[in-house]
């Protein structure tokens, strides 16, 4: 070892040592800084980097199917083949993006030549996609057929950045069948959905790429997804849609995709099973033709909705993949309003189909006895009330059974007046679900069950409830409004001896457990002997020669039925004047259950703007019954459809002449509707209302069918 040299050298050593120590200390300072950045602040920089380089892409899940009760798909999925371009493989050097756009455009043109289609996207769209959605593929051609796919697959040269992508499209195999129930879908890039039902929302363990700590999922890009827009598709959208998966892309500094990480596969949507029976549904829809109206068949034992037909309808297949604008406009402007779900959302005066309930209530309350008779001379006149009966010459002395079979107005008006509207009749109707929407899972109208308060609030002069109103309500006229489904529910209660069974439209709401049990929501107490009496009356109604529902008769089947013909006025503005003309219209109803002694099915049929319940509605019911209870082979099926002069005459007069109703209706001021003022002279005419929304608010007059006389 060297020995220390004399002073200058020693001073130099010391200074060099100091310098070296200072340098090492400086490096130590850097090490501390480095520790701060890399160890203490690591997450900050990692987060910044993730924000800069990671893009979450939402992958759509396959939508669940909608099936009928036997598993037949009513809404299905079908693959649609698309050609997509991956821009990261097509980038071209150069300032700006124009070289890349050129290259992509050229590639699309090339693909177009190969598959034999014009290019599906414009230069502007390419540039926009490049600017805003660079890391994800751009779909240039959609819905390729086998030939086009084959041409692309057999192309000998490699096509950079071109790939086939499969999308799911919705398919409605039965066209317009049950279209209002099924609903339809649209495509949406960023659907807003309510949270999925509890229990289904266990977050995926996706680690770095999972949802953020708030549970919110922020997607930078979402691929278009099917979203329910109407009917079951809309009401059960969250179940059908499933849960979108996610993909995390790492992008490079130019914004192109570099790596793909999966962050949770899509959870496919669950299938929904309806209680509808496809064959019965088709039969019901066929039977309705060519009327506007509704036909409902319920399983009388558990309330399953087996057929829920509404007419007219629209073709669901035109909604896929997207509805052309002109078609949509035509549907909206069609005077027959095919988008309108009459079976659930249409509300109509129920007419005579409520009479069995009036009879049962009167019997139960002791207002009449099974032997009470009322003399009918074709008209009911008392006080200010003057209401015509179905039979112009009168039914003579009628008892309950006869009154139901013949639909005698004076008898039930007498019952109603003896009972009084509130609470007796009102509460009986309320218990049967009038004025409350059926809980089917898809929107349904509540109809209108008026009371004195309602009348006060909705009439121009705040008129009190009158005996005339009670008389009208006793025969299902006046302010009373109900949807066909509510009337079917009433038939179901009659078939179940007063058990209120809630109709069920959805057999399996997506959890794989079919609902088949009978759910009794409530019970209306009707005495068995009264029920038997009313049932006999309703059976009599189906029997020739005088039963009002005899045209529904099917050989070998004993069933109970009640017809109804509700009249209503439409006040139509006279062109060029401020005057309105009154037009009288009739809606034909029939309710039934069969067989009469052990009910298996309950029915409600409505034909808008037709002649009478005994004609149009009964023959629709008959078609349904023939399908469900086919007569033994060899039985001659009598042709009950031929017009019968004498009976027709009597039938057509079944409806009530509603003097007092007309009066009240003219007084009705439509507070609930802003546009009511335009129609202040009379009941609201909704035929000028192109809206397809449900009429869920009470409307005092009549469900107005589209005007038959307009072109």
């Amino acid at each position: 070892m060297s020995r220390p040299t004399p002073s200058p050298s020693a001073g130099g050593r010391l200074r060099l040592g100091l310098l070296g120590a200072a340098f090492l200390a400086a490096l130590g300072f850097l090490a501390l800084r480095l520790h701060d950045i890399q160890v203490r602040d690591r997450d900050l920089y990692l987060g910044t980097q993730a924000q800069m380089t990671l893009r979450r892409v939402r992958l759509p899940a396959t939508r669940g199917k909608i099936r009928d009760r036997n598993g037949v798909p009513l809404a299905d999925n079908a693959p649609s083949f698309c050609i997509a371009l991956y821009f990261d493989e097509l980038r071209a050097p150069g300032r700006g993006w124009s070289n890349t756009v050129d290259r992509i455009e050229a590639q699309i043109a090339r693909v177009a030549a190969i598959v034999g289609r014009p290019p599906g996207v414009s230069r502007r769209e390419i540039a926009a996609h490049l600017r805003t959605r660079r890391p994800i593929p751009m779909v240039a051609f959609e819905g390729l057929d086998d030939r086009e796919l084959a041409r692309l697959a057999e192309w000998p040269e490699p096509l950079a950045g071109v790939d086939v992508l499969v999308r799911q499209n919705r398919v409605y195999p039965y066209g317009d069948m049950a279209c209002h129930v099924i609903g339809y879908v649209g495509r949406d890039v960023n659907p807003v959905r309510p949270a999925p039902p509890a229990g289904a929302a266990a977050p995926d363990a996706a680690g770095e790429f999972g949802p953020d700590e708030n549970g919110a999922e922020d997607f930078d890009y979402a691929l278009p997804e099917l979203v329910g827009r109407d009917g079951v598709e809309k009401a059960f959208d969250a179940v059908l849609a499933g849960r979108g998966g996610a993909e995390v892309l790492r992008i490079d500094v130019s914004g192109y995709k570099r790596e793909v990480h999966s962050a949770g596969a899509p959870r496919h949507g669950s299938d929904i099973a309806l209680t509808l029976d496809k064959d019965l549904q088709l039969r019901a829809e066929e039977a309705l033709r060519p009327n506007r109206g509704a036909a409902i068949v319920l399983d009388a034992r558990n309330g399953d909705v087996l057929a829920l037909a509404s007419a007219p309808r629209f073709d669901l297949s035109t909604f896929v993949p997207s509805l052309p604008g002109p078609v949509w406009r035509r549907l909206l402007e069609d005077p027959d309003r095919p988008l309108y779900h009459r079976a659930l959302l249409g509300t109509y005066p129920p007419g005579s189909v409520v009479k069995p309930v009036v009879a049962l209530t009167a019997l139960g309350a002791g207002a009449i006895s099974p032997f009470s008779t009322v003399h009918c001379d074709g008209r009911f006149r008392r006080g200010g009330i003057d209401i015509r009966c179905a039979s112009r010459w009168g039914h003579g002395d009628v008892d309950v059974r006869h009154a139901i079979a013949a639909s005698c107005n004076p008898f039930f008006i007498e019952c109603g007046l003896r009972l009084g509207w509130a609470p007796a009749l009102h509460d009986a109707f309320e218990a049967l679900g009038l004025g409350a929407p059926p809980r089917l899972g898809i929107p349904a109208a509540a109809g209108l069950l008026p009371d004195s308060q309602w009348k006060k609030a909705h009439t121009r002069d705040h008129a009190p409830w009158t005996a005339g109103d009670t008389a009208n309500a006793s025969i299902g006229q006046g302010f009373l409004l109900a949807s066909p489904m509510q009337i079917a529910r009433l038939a179901l209660a009659l078939a179940n001896d007063g058990d209120i069974v809630e109709p069920r439209l959805v057999r399996d709401p997506g959890d794989g457990r079919p609902r088949t049990e009978r759910v009794v929501a409530d019970h209306v107490f009707w005495r068995p002997q009264d029920l038997e009496l009313v049932r006999r009356g309703m059976v009599d109604a189906t029997l020739p020669p005088h039963g009002t529902a005899r045209r529904a008769a099917v050989p070998g089947l004993r069933f109970a039925a009640k017809t109804g013909t509700a009249e209503f006025d439409v006040y139509r503005p006279l062109p060029g004047t401020r005057r309105h003309v009154r037009e009288r219209h009739k809606n034909a109803w029939i309710i039934a259950y069969a067989p009469a002694d052990a009910p298996r099915y309950a029915f409600a049929v409505l034909a808008e703007d037709s002649d009478s319940g005994g004609h149009t509605a009964a023959s629709i019911l008959r078609t349904l019954l023939l399908g469900l209870f086919p007569p033994p082979p060899g039985t001659e099926i009598p042709d009950t459809q031929s017009p019968d002069e004498e009976e027709t005459h009597a039938e057509s007069a079944e409806s009530a002449e509603l003097e007092s109703h007309a009066e009240s209706a003219e007084n009705a001021e439509l507070h609930s509707h802003a546009e009511g003022a335009e129609n202040a002279e009379g009941p609201r005419a909704t035929d000028d209302d192109p809206d397809t929304e449900p009429v869920s608010e009470p409307v005092p007059a009549i469900e107005l069918s589209p005007d038959p006389s307009s072109p």
């Binding site: 050298s9 130099g12 050593r13 310098l19 490096l27 480095l34 950045i37 920089y45 570099r258």
Partner: protein
């Protein structure tokens, strides 16, 4: 003339730790140049191979040649090297001879940087003057030293290359300090440097606070003296949030790279900042090689690298401390100061402690002339180690 060779064999006198630290740093460098270039295509993808051949062999050869010659001979003939280097520095500024890239004229014959030669020339020259090689008074010696370092520094500033002048300034200050220059003088020099830096920064940052009409005038005046890219770098450092997409980009992305590496790093060739191009490929293998290392090896690897540099500096200092004569000590001091400045400034800018000044990391960054000059400078130290010992018995 010189003391006779020591009886000890050369391999016992050599500074082996310095060799080992250098070798380790070179290996680090080649590995991560490879990583940094892995996303590049064509010639740029094989920069690491160019390091393996020819740059490292050439550097090692230079090291051996320099080390085999007695450092005292180098200092005596340093004036010739110095003159040659200055001529080259002048030549590089001549249009048509120097190669112009990225707004500066720094290269001769396409790939040779004369500023690196000047580094090698300056250290022995100053050592010769300060150790009393010329019969001059204290003051004359001081001014001569300042002048000798100012000439190459000024020429380099003209290129313009602000960063490369820093090692020159550091070397001359350190050597003056170790040579025992009066403390007052040193203090004055440091103050002068500080004032210069303050004027420099102030003329860039202060005009922003002036009212707009005066600000424009002042900025126009300043722009005659200060290059626009310096101004941008200083502003980007003072206000990093202002323009992360533009002039602040490299510094910000480098910091993200270092920070996101975390304690353990992302793995060799898995640094996303580099592979995804956020760290510009044009600098990731040279000035920002430490960002790549820090991202891929994390704090562990970065600390190892820092330790290697500390070891290298310590081994250089050790040779200087052991050296019996002032010339050798001063040579070691100059090399030490130059190396330290490179390491400190480079790492500090990478982790956002200093503004971006484009100077590379010795032995690790990619660079032909730079690798050769660094190894040659270390060769001077080796020469001191090999030949300095023999002086001990002679003096005694």
């Amino acid at each position: 003339m010189y003391p006779p060779p020591s009886p000890r064999p050369w391999w016992r006198s050599a500074n082996w730790p310095m060799v080992l630290f250098s070798a380790a740093l070179l290996v680090f460098g080649v590995l991560f140049i490879r990583s940094a270039c892995s996303v590049r295509v064509g010639r740029a993808a094989i920069l690491w191979k160019q390091m393996l051949f020819p740059w490292i062999p050439l550097g090692v050869a230079a090291h051996l040649v320099v080390a085999s010659v007695d450092y005292r001979r180098w200092t005596e003939w340093a004036w010739a090297v110095y003159l040659f280097a200055v001529v080259l520095l002048v030549l590089v500024l001549v249009p048509g001879i120097g190669t112009r890239t990225m707004g500066a004229q720094r290269w001769l014959f396409g790939r040779f940087q004369p500023s690196e030669g000047a580094k090698f020339a300056l250290v022995p020259t100053l050592a010769f003057v300060l150790a009393g090689g010329l019969d001059l008074g204290e003051r004359a010696r001081l001014w001569l030293c300042l002048g000798l370092s100012a000439v190459p520094a000024a020429l380099i500033l003209l290129e313009p290359d602000l960063g490369t002048t820093l090692p020159f300034a550091a070397a001359v200050l350190a050597m003056l300090f170790v040579a025992g220059c009066a403390r007052r003088t040193l203090l004055a020099l440091v103050l002068a440097g500080g004032l210069f830096a303050a004027a420099f920064l102030g003329s860039i940052l202060l005009p922003e606070r002036l009212p707009p009409e005066r600000r424009e005038r002042v900025e126009a005046a300043v722009s005659h003296v200060i290059h626009d890219h310096w101004r941008k770098r200083i502003v980007a450092f003072a206000h990093p949030e202002r323009d992360l997409q533009g002039s602040g980009w490299n510094a910000w992305q480098s910091k993200i790279a270092v920070g996101s590496g975390g304690p353990r790093g992302k793995g060799y060739r898995k640094g996303t900042q580099n592979t995804l191009g956020y760290l510009p490929v044009s600098v990731s293998s040279s000035d920002f090689i430490f960002s790549v290392i820090a991202e891929e090896t994390g704090f562990r690897g970065a600390a190892v690298l820092l330790a290697l540099f500390a070891g290298l500096l310590a081994s250089v200092a050790a040779t200087g401390l052991r050296c019996p004569d002032e010339t050798g000590r001063l040579v070691c001091t100059g090399v030490l100061a130059m190396l330290f400045t490179h390491v400190f400034v480079n790492l500090a800018m990478t982790i956002g402690v200093m503004p971006i000044t484009g100077i590379p990391l010795p032995l690790v960054s990619y660079g032909g002339t730079f690798t050769i000059s660094t190894l040659a400078l270390l060769g001077l130290v080796q020469s001191v180690a090999l030949h300095g010992r023999s002086a001990v018995p002679h003096d005694a």
